[in-house]
């Protein structure tokens, strides 16, 4: 923004130091900023909405395999992340509250704590994605569209992991690829191929939705960092706190998306047990 003193043409009217040059009264600015964020979040709803619509359609069409596929995700990690993210929303709400009461120091602190929770979330997500990748849940070229192979491999790996957990050992071997291939290749059939592709679709949606969500968190870190810096500089006051309010709206939106993702992706097949 160019300097605020450029409003000289308004013939000496008094201007608040936080008023950007292009707004007339401060109230206009107060009203425009959150409205802009709400409109942006509306476009975000449309953005995620496309993926949720795809999920709804395919879950309806292929409900059995979606439950089956969902069962391969780790509920514990998902639930942990849900708790972490809700805590980050709490700290964000506290940051907004502190900015409204003029407590600049704690505004900045709560914002940084929010980032810390966000980083924890992504840390857990990293562990989870890595595991998903190792058991061939990635629906990329590695996932064979022609046979059941990787799908069966994933199942077997999960079984072996459960087995190892029952025995109380943290380490577990991965199944031999050749065994799985030999077991399943000849008797695969059309149905097997279809089911494999349906499960693949579930994981395509899983990776797209969770990584789009994670991307929003990364953007959030940068924005929260900037706002936190300005908060420490004492830029916000009870008269002017709309940037903090806006980043709060954004963060709560990211949180709400996860609140929907968690049951749709993780809890869908929970009743089937491992």
């Amino acid at each position: 923004m160019s300097a605020t003193n450029e409003t000289v043409q308004d013939h000496g009217q008094h201007h608040h130091k936080d008023l950007a040059h292009h707004f007339d009264p401060l109230e206009q600015q107060h009203a425009a900023n959150p409205l802009g964020m709400w409109a942006f979040l509306l476009t975000e709803v449309l953005f995620f909405g496309g993926l949720f619509a795809a999920y709804t359609i395919y879950r309806y069409k292929y409900s059995a395999m979606f439950e089956e596929a969902s069962n391969h995700l780790d509920i514990t990690l998902g639930a942990t992340n849900t708790v972490i993210l809700i805590l980050s929303s709490l700290t964000m709400a506290l940051a907004v509250r502190c900015s409204q009461t003029g407590n600049s120091l704690w505004t900045g602190r709560w914002l940084l704590i929010t980032i810390a929770f966000g980083l924890m979330f992504l840390g857990v997500k990293y562990v989870e994605w890595k595991h998903d990748y190792h058991i061939h849940l990635m629906p990329g070229k590695d996932w064979s569209g022609k046979d059941y192979w990787h799908w069966q491999y994933a199942k077997k790996a999960k079984d072996m992991e459960t087995e190892a957990h029952k025995k109380g050992s943290a380490e577990h071997a991965l199944p031999d690829r050749k065994d799985v291939l030999a077991d399943n290749d000849p008797s695969l059939g059309v149905r097997g191929i279809q089911e494999s592709q349906q499960a693949r679709l579930f994981f395509l949606l899983y990776f797209c939705m969770t990584s789009l969500h994670a991307l929003h968190m990364l953007v959030g870190f940068v924005l929260i960092g900037i706002i936190a810096y300005f908060a420490y500089q004492g830029a916000y006051s009870p008269e002017y706190y709309s940037p903090v309010e806006n980043i709060g709206l954004y963060w709560h939106f990211v949180d709400i998306v996860w609140i929907f993702l968690f049951p749709l992706l993780y809890l869908l097949g929970a009743h089937m047990g491992h």
Partner: protein, 509 residues
């Protein structure tokens, strides 16, 4: 100019209402490169877009030239089949995503929205600059995809051409379009908030110029119809000013913009009438597609009624607006042929479709854009272009356009499919017509580049309101405007098109 007969000195007829307090304006208050590249001024950002989209238009136009040259003869002798596929894909992508969509909203919208509503800038100037750079980045990525080897799917990217059987740079291109999509979403968002929150005192919703209504509807609904809606807004402004009359049916024109936007949401299956969708679904979508004609027709008849009894002056913007009216009407009426299920089976995927959407997108949207650029050029640059060359280019464009695309209606009706690089001998005569027309059209489109550029440097100085417009950008700012638009925040007490005098008596309020 030697031929004075075409010169009308409209700009002398109207007195300078604002006057000049000093010579500092948004163009000359800072000359440094950084003051342009990092500007937060909506007017300068509009000009950045103007330069960039003009370059994209030239590139897309060159590709159109290559396509028409290939189709000059029945055999494929200029381009190979593969190159031809890539050429028409690149033409479509560049023209739609990098020229038409940003044309009026990003250039004229950016320049005019704050001026027309009496604001100092858009609500979020930094976001506005970000939008421009997202557009720029998207263009660079898309051009990279073209340089790597191009895309051969057609601009619609239908699967499985673009997925399972893709053998070109679809992903790179898709990323480019994704980025440029963000640019238009953020610009739209900026306009929505600006119109909601930044209007000056007294400027109620029903005192907004119709251009603002069109831009608002475009911003809310970002679909195919966004390419034509802004042109409808420009036409409303131009026709009101050059007829010197209050727009007939202001409210209904405003609401018909919203109606086109709403109908635009629910017509998508009209691309799929021949794909074996349920006949009942097809009937519903056919009916909904017909409905788009209602608000469009309302607008056309309202413009005609505005001109009726008005005091019409035939300046360049008005000539372009006339061209728009004719071509948009033909484009709209042929759209009805295509929304009729039975005829669509015959005409689907033929040159009839190509002709139809070029009548809307080129005949309609670009004529509207040209009308707008000519109408607001004195405000944007503070200079008058040559009326003689302006009128000549408008005429040549209109003739060239019809020569290019009217034969394609007949070709399509006779059964020539679109997107083929060879065709049977009996189609050659009409194709030669079309290619010859394209070269006339190219001249028509090139001329403004020269006389507008010339006028920018050497043109006669424009006063604040050379055409006698009645909206805030004419009545309350200098030409070109000062960096902060208004000396004092305007206060609006009247409707936008308040022409007093004998013409006003016809539709007195």
């Amino acid at each position: 100019m030697a031929t004075v007969s075409l010169e009308s000195k409209t700009f002398d007829k109207f007195p300078d209402v604002v006057g000049r307090h000093d010579d500092t304006n948004y163009l000359n208050h800072d000359h440094s490169i950084t003051s342009w590249l990092f500007t937060l001024d909506h007017k300068r950002i509009g000009l950045l877009y103007l330069v960039t989209i003009t370059l994209m238009f030239l590139l897309g136009g060159a590709l159109a030239g290559a396509i028409r040259l290939e189709l000059l003869t029945p055999k494929g002798d200029f381009l190979t089949a593969d190159t031809y596929n890539k050429a028409f894909t690149a033409h479509g992508i560049i023209m739609l995503f990098f020229f038409l969509i940003p044309s009026i909203p990003a250039v004229l919208g950016n320049f005019l929205v704050p001026l027309m509503i009496g604001a100092k800038d858009v609500a979020f100037p930094r976001l506005n600059l970000l939008s421009y750079y997202l557009y720029f980045a998207g263009s660079v990525i898309a051009l990279t995809a073209l340089l790597l080897g191009g895309v051969d799917t057609g601009w619609t990217f239908y699967t499985p051409f673009s997925s399972t059987y893709s053998n070109s740079y679809v992903i790179v291109m898709a990323v480019g379009l994704f980025v440029v999509g963000f640019s238009s979403i953020l610009t739209g968002l900026n306009f929505i908030i600006t119109v909601h929150r930044m209007r000056c005192p007294g400027l109620t919703w029903f005192r907004l110029p119709l251009f603002i209504w069109s831009i608002y509807a475009t911003s809310v609904v970002q679909l195919v119809y966004i390419m034509i809606l802004p042109s409808l807004g420009v036409t409303s402004e131009v026709i009101a000013t050059f007829s010197r009359k209050n727009v007939f049916g202001y409210h209904i024109i405003a609401f018909s913009s919203i109606a086109i936007a709403v109908f635009g949401f629910i017509v998508w299956a009209h691309h799929m009438f021949t794909t074996g969708i349920s006949p009942y679904a097809a009937m519903v979508f056919s009916l909904l597609t017909f409905s788009v004609a209602i608000p469009s027709g309302i607008k056309v008849f309202s413009w005609l009624a505005t001109m009726y009894g008005g005091s019409i002056s035939f300046d360049t913007p008005m000539i372009y607006a006339f061209g728009f009216l004719g071509l948009f009407t033909i484009g709209g009426l042929t759209g009805l042929f295509l929304s009729t299920l039975g005829t669509d089976i015959h005409l689907h995927d033929t040159y009839f479709i190509v002709a139809h959407f070029h009548y809307i997108m080129v005949g309609g949207a670009i004529m509207g854009y040209m009308a707008g650029i000519h109408y607001w050029w004195p405000k944007i640059t503070g200079k008058m272009y040559s009326e003689f060359w302006g009128k000549l280019s408008a005429g040549i464009t209109f003739i060239g356009f019809n020569f290019t695309f009217f034969p394609q209606f007949i070709l399509g009706y006779l059964g020539m499919p679109r997107r083929y690089y060879e065709y049977p001998d009996e189609f050659q005569v009409l194709n030669v017509f079309s290619t010859a027309g394209a070269s006339i059209l190219a001249i028509g489109y090139s001329m403004p580049l020269f006389y507008m550029t010339y006028s920018f440097f050497f043109g006669e100085k424009a006063n604040s309101n050379p055409y006698g417009g009645s909206t805030l950008e004419w009545t309350n700012t200098t030409s070109p405007p000062s960096p902060h638009n208004f000396e004092q925040t305007p206060v609006v007490t009247e409707e936008p098109y308040h022409y007093h005098g004998k013409e006003a008596a016809v539709v007195s309020h």
